[in-house]
């Protein structure tokens, strides 16, 4: 991948100059999807194995993308348990030669919340089989540490349930995950606005993943670009060392000023 800047995102030894991942679902056409993805500046595009036919080069999603520009990250969206996710991942490798997998195990279609137990079990097996695993997970610091310990190359905690566009509802737990993690933290799911993405990056997230908010915007291409800028602004702010919020005003030192009265 490109080394266009001096602040690359490094995942499993691969460098990415962009810190936004984009999903391919929910767009009104493959053409608009491809244009939005281009406008986002992303270098990592994820596609659901249930939606794409990886054995077919004319698949409407795959054929619309210039795959020389992006790393294609197949995901196991729709898998209800570890076994289903494993079968999908193995299919992706056997048919498409994909070794990187975005692991999603979501047993209940109503919430699409990730199953921590099945995700962990599937990750263990996939890593043993040599896959590079990027797991979608709830914002659970304990689980994040365990997934990191078994060799996941990122953790991808949700900001809010998939498709809700509700922003950083799990902020406190995300902060703990960011604080403790040695692997990149990619905030995944629930980001509805570029400001949500910027806030994630300001907190120190390494990247974000956005799909619904771009795909269903009135102008997905403009929204993709807005997210790109939001991510860049947030990252720059994080690197610049933002002034910390203070819980009380600091205009003077009313409590300790007397210590200097006699100086």
């Amino acid at each position: 991948m490109s080394k266009a800047n001096n602040d690359p995102l490094i995942i499993a030894g691969e460098e990415f100059s962009s810190r936004i991942f984009v999903g391919t679902g929910k767009f009104s056409s493959p053409k608009i999807m491809a244009e939005a993805i281009l406008a986002s500046g992303t270098q990592m595009v994820t596609a659901a194995l249930r939606r794409v036919d990886i054995s077919d080069p004319s698949d409407s999603i795959l054929s619309a993308l210039d795959l020389s520009k992006y790393k294609l990250l197949p995901n196991t969206s729709g898998a209800r348990n570890a076994q289903e996710a494993l079968r999908l991942a193995r299919l992706a490798r056997a048919v498409g030669g994909f070794n990187w997998i975005k692991l999603e195990v979501t047993p209940e279609p109503n919430s699409l919340l990730p199953d921590p137990v099945e995700t962990y079990e599937a990750a263990k097996v996939l890593i043993k089989e040599g896959f590079i695993v990027l797991p979608y997970m709830n914002a659970d610091p304990i689980l994040a540490r365990k997934l990191e310990d078994i060799g996941c190359v990122t953790v991808m905690p949700l900001a809010a349930p998939i498709g809700t566009s509700r922003g950083l509802k799990t902020k406190d737990q995300l902060a703990m995950i960011i604080e403790q993690s040695s692997v990149p933290v990619v905030v995944d799911a629930g980001l509805g606005l570029p400001s949500h993405a910027a806030e994630s990056m300001e907190m120190g997230a390494d990247a974000v993943l956005v799909n619904t908010a771009i795909a269903i915007a009135d102008d997905p291409i403009a929204m993709a670009n807005a997210f790109k800028l939001g991510v860049e602004a947030g990252r720059k702010a994080f690197l610049a060392g933002p002034a910390r919020e203070s819980p009380v005003a600091r205009a003077s030192s009313p409590l300790t000023g007397f210590l200097r009265d006699d100086e």
């Binding site: 929910k26 194995l49 794409v52 409407s60 898998a79 299919l91 209940e108 279609p109 109503n110």
Partner: protein, 376 residues
């Protein structure tokens, strides 16, 4: 676990109808003030009192659907395996007493139908049969599933009620979705409309979908036949049924259909008319109540109406449907042998074009057989 039959036994159509008609404007406003109305709000949402709020309901339905499903519509098509049937449904073209040409597809013929549809861009198949275990039993259906699934992204069935073992066998063969319409939730009316055959048994039909849930179908499709009972009452029962299934089987996605009775020659005529306004109210209310459910509209509706309904909450439509065994590719046995005559007679490509023109991507694959641990 409380089955839906226990619920329906405590709630007669008279009570349901009374509660719907008693709903006030304030009840509707209260329901719409919630980010997600509860199933108790269904009485208000299906009532006359909700009619002045139809545009607001439609707009909310559209917005919820966009968020959950995006700008996409899945295309599917039925494959009729057989029109043999031992039931005597008053409204159905396959009823036992009707003098039509009966046909049972061979496995090769079924595969040819799947190949035809696949070449036209449809990979979600719904296998349909009448109830005739001697001609088209579960064993044969399982063999057909195994044969056609090579051409399919997804195979669902709309067949007679089965037991848990039968459904397990179908899943093992490669079926991921089960569709079973109750026709009407009014037990007395049901009895009149189904005078003979195993379909007489209301409870057998009602409880079968729960067996499907226990077996683990990924999609559970339900609905009632629009035009039999007063629609508001049946729609309310349908909402309660959806609520019951979604609580009992959270791992299965609900698929809600609104099949409209299209009278066949010398068959039952519409008993209670359902207008387009009524249909829109049902679709929007169901979407507000069940944000994650698939909502399905078939070719029973006209092309014009279907095009207008697309943005209101629909996620899945059939296209180019033929309702007789072997109907695709010009092999139709005769004009009278279908289950009903479709209203939207556009070719699959024309439907796909209309979907794109409405601003939606046509999804031909939204599942993969690799999800399933299916036998060979």
């Amino acid at each position: 676990m409380t089955g839906f039959n226990d619920i329906i036994n405590r709630l007669t159509p008279d009570i349901v109808s009374f509660k719907i008609e008693a709903s006030s404007t304030a009840d509707v406003k209260r329901a719409l003030a919630k980010s997600k109305p509860s199933v108790e709000d269904a009485y208000a949402l299906f009532s006359h009192a909700a009619l002045p709020f139809l545009e607001e309901m439609a707009e909310r339905s559209r917005a919820i659907t966009l968020k959950r499903f995006g700008r996409t519509i899945i295309l599917y098509a039925p494959i009729y395996l057989s029109n043999y049937c031992i039931n005597e449904c008053a409204y159905c073209g396959f009823a036992v007493h009707r003098e039509i040409t009966r046909k049972l597809l061979t496995i090769d013929e079924a595969v040819a139908q799947a190949e035809y549809l696949s070449a036209e861009g449809i990979r979600h198949f719904l296998l349909v049969t009448g109830e005739a275990p001697r001609q088209c039993g579960l064993g044969l259906i399982g063999k057909v599933v195994k044969a056609v699934r090579q051409k399919a992204a997804s195979v669902s069935v709309e067949i007679f009620p089965c037991g848990l073992k039968g459904y397990n066998n179908l899943i093992q063969a490669g079926v991921d979705g089960l569709t079973l319409y109750q026709e009407t939730y009014d037990k007395d009316l049901y009895k009149k409309l189904h005078p003979s055959g195993p379909k007489q048994n209301f409870v057998r039909r009602l409880t079968a979908i729960e067996k499907g849930g226990h077996a683990g179908f990924r999609s559970l499709g339900i609905g009632f036949l629009l035009g039999l009972a007063p629609f508001r009452t049946d729609a309310l029962y349908l909402a309660l049924h959806c609520d019951c299934l979604s609580r009992s089987f959270p791992q299965s996605r609900l698929a809600i259909s609104f099949p409209r009775l299209l009278p066949v020659s010398e068959g039952l005529q519409v008993l209670h008319n359902v207008s387009d306004v009524d249909l829109v109210q049902m679709i929007a209310a169901m979407r507000l109540l069940f944000p994650d459910a698939e909502i399905v509209i078939s070719t029973r509706e006209s092309a014009k109406l279907r095009d207008h309904l697309l943005p209101l909450g629909i996620t899945r439509i059939s296209a180019g449907s033929r309702t007789s065994p072997g109907g695709y590719g010009g092999a139709c046995i005769d004009a009278e042998s279908g289950q009903f005559e479709t209203e939207d007679r556009r070719q699959i490509s024309e439907v796909a074009e209309a979907v794109r023109k409405a601003g939606y991507d046509v999804v031909t694959k939204d599942f993969d057989p690799a999800f399933m641990d299916i036998g060979s």
